[in-house]
């Protein structure tokens, strides 16, 4: 279990640092589910903490995707323009933090 979990974390981190355009939620959520089943040991807890941290990145990508979809429907929608700008301005900082996480 522990060995498999390190693999899941590696995969999540690698995906986040690539420029994947689509998110395979089934794969991500299954990974998270497996991590959550981890034993109640410090190592298992550490893996969960890393998994929870990395999953944020997927939700931010999804948020970005939703703002883009909103703008595809209405390119003039100012609130979506500003929200997308917000998220894109901070993207490099987010990416940087995912690179910094170590396990």
């Amino acid at each position: 279990m522990i060995g498999r979990n390190w693999e899941i974390l590696e995969n999540l981190k690698r995906d986040l640092n690539s420029n994947k355009l689509s998110i395979n939620w089934d794969y991500i959520l299954e990974g998270l589910e497996e991590l959550e089943k981890s034993e109640d040991t410090p190592e298992g807890e550490f893996q969960k903490a890393c998994g929870y941290f990395l999953i944020c990145g997927y939700y931010w990508q999804e948020a970005e995707r939703q703002f883009q979809k909103a703008l595809k429907k209405n390119p003039q929608l100012r609130k979506a323009q500003n929200n997308l700008k917000n998220i894109q301005e901070h993207k490099s900082a987010f990416k940087h933090s995912f690179q910094q996480i170590e396990f």
């Binding site: 190592e43 807890e45 550490f46 944020c56």
Partner: protein, 390 residues
């Protein structure tokens, strides 16, 4: 042909489902619970109507029905038994109502104008008119230029049966926001209800000048000319104008194709008008928007009481709404913000573990390092928080 009395604007507009309809329906199963909030006793009742095969949530205040709303079952709960579904819905409805009530104090104390407006929208959707009016009035006191709020507050006044107050308010709103087509359309509608036909036409025309593809205004103009034609059958131009605006409205609705044969009978036009008006009402997103507003307010002021499961359910509901023919940009914008906020539950969990678990020698340094990364990121995110626009 109908006469003027038979086609009052209220008859045409009556597309909103009232709670009374469910008294006569076949209620097969129901669960309910009372909540005491302030001076009032509220009762939330969730019923399954076997005739309609729908679940409704009914809200009573001091034994008087104030609202009845259709409840969508998210796909992940569809396979569960009816009783489980009803219990889950009841739990969530109660949670939302209690949260909205608790937010009144904090928003009245330190909320911005738009936060008053957000809370007002939730109360408006729940049929809690007095609470909604209080929030909208507070919003306008803090920011008289909040154009949407004029429209929302005027609809409370209309529901309370004081159209003159709605009129006064919208006139003031239009004066302050003369380029807001939505507000002009709303004012035109209230003029129509108050039989100020000339003023109504003026507002609809101006709304159209501001937004040339405003489908609802085309429909309102159709109604105006239909009424004109009924009042003055000798005026053949009125019917021609009604047809012109109906065609414009039809052309903006991709789900409708224009009838091949010529439409020229009053009854035909009025029937098409009603179908289209009903379609517009079906596409109404005010309920889901009010839920979004409540959840975002809770994120700012009531985070300790929102469970991750509640947020997940809210996101699933919104996502499925979008997927079921409501793919509107503003709902996508809400969903984007919703996903963003959702990530905080995970960030918090990560932070809590890294902070509290006693790690052995091997992981201690890594955990300390990761905790620093989480903390730094969290600080950055907090700065971003007030910049989201909905």
């Amino acid at each position: 042909m109908f006469n003027q009395e038979e086609m009052s604007s209220f008859d045409f507009w009556d597309s909103v489902q009232t709670g009374e309809e469910h008294y006569s329906s076949t209620v097969e199963a129901k669960v309910k619970e009372q909540i005491k909030l302030g001076e009032n006793t509220y009762e939330v009742e969730v019923v399954y109507d076997s005739a309609e095969k729908q679940i409704y949530s009914l809200l009573y205040r001091n034994n008087h029905l104030v609202s009845s709303q259709y409840v969508h079952i998210v796909s992940s709960e569809k396979d569960f038994g009816l009783n489980y579904q009803l219990q889950q819905i009841l739990k969530r409805e109660k949670e939302n109502l209690t949260a909205s009530w608790n937010l009144i104090g904090v928003i009245n104390q330190k909320g911005s104008a738009s936060e008053h407006n957000s809370l007002g929208l939730f109360f408006l959707d729940k049929g809690l008119d007095n609470e909604a009016a209080e929030q909208f009035e507070n919003a306008l006191k803090k920011s008289p230029l909040l154009s949407d709020t004029y429209k929302s507050l005027s609809s409370v006044y209309l529901r309370k049966g004081v159209p003159h107050k709605a009129l006064e308010l919208l006139e003031a709103g239009v004066k302050l926001n003369p380029t807001f087509a939505d507000l002009r359309n709303a004012l035109g509608w209230v003029y129509l209800e108050c039989q100020k036909r000339k003023e109504a036409l003026e507002q609809f025309t101006m709304a159209l000048e501001l937004n040339k593809n405003y489908a609802e205004v085309f429909l309102n103009l159709t109604l105006w000319y239909l009424q004109e034609s009924a009042n003055h059958p000798e005026n053949s131009q009125a019917l021609t104008q009604a047809i012109k605006y109906l065609k414009k409205a039809l052309s903006l609705n991709p789900e409708f194709s224009l009838p091949q044969e010529k439409i020229n009978e009053w009854e035909e036009i009025s029937k098409l008008y009603l179908i289209l008006k009903n379609r517009v009402a079906q596409k109404d997103t005010s309920h889901i928007k009010s839920v979004c507003e409540l959840f975002f307010l809770r994120f700012s002021y009531d985070q300790g009481n929102i469970s991750q499961a509640s947020w997940q359910y809210f996101l699933m509901g919104l996502n499925e709404k979008i997927g079921s023919g409501f793919d509107f940009p503003d709902l996508r914008n809400y969903l984007g913000i919703g996903y963003w906020y959702y990530s905080f539950f995970f960030l918090e969990k990560s932070h809590a573990i890294l902070r509290s678990v006693k790690f052995g020698k091997k992981l201690k340094n890594l955990a300390t390092l990761n905790l620093e990364v989480v903390d730094t990121l969290n600080k950055q995110l907090e700065k971003l928080q007030p910049r989201w626009e909905r």
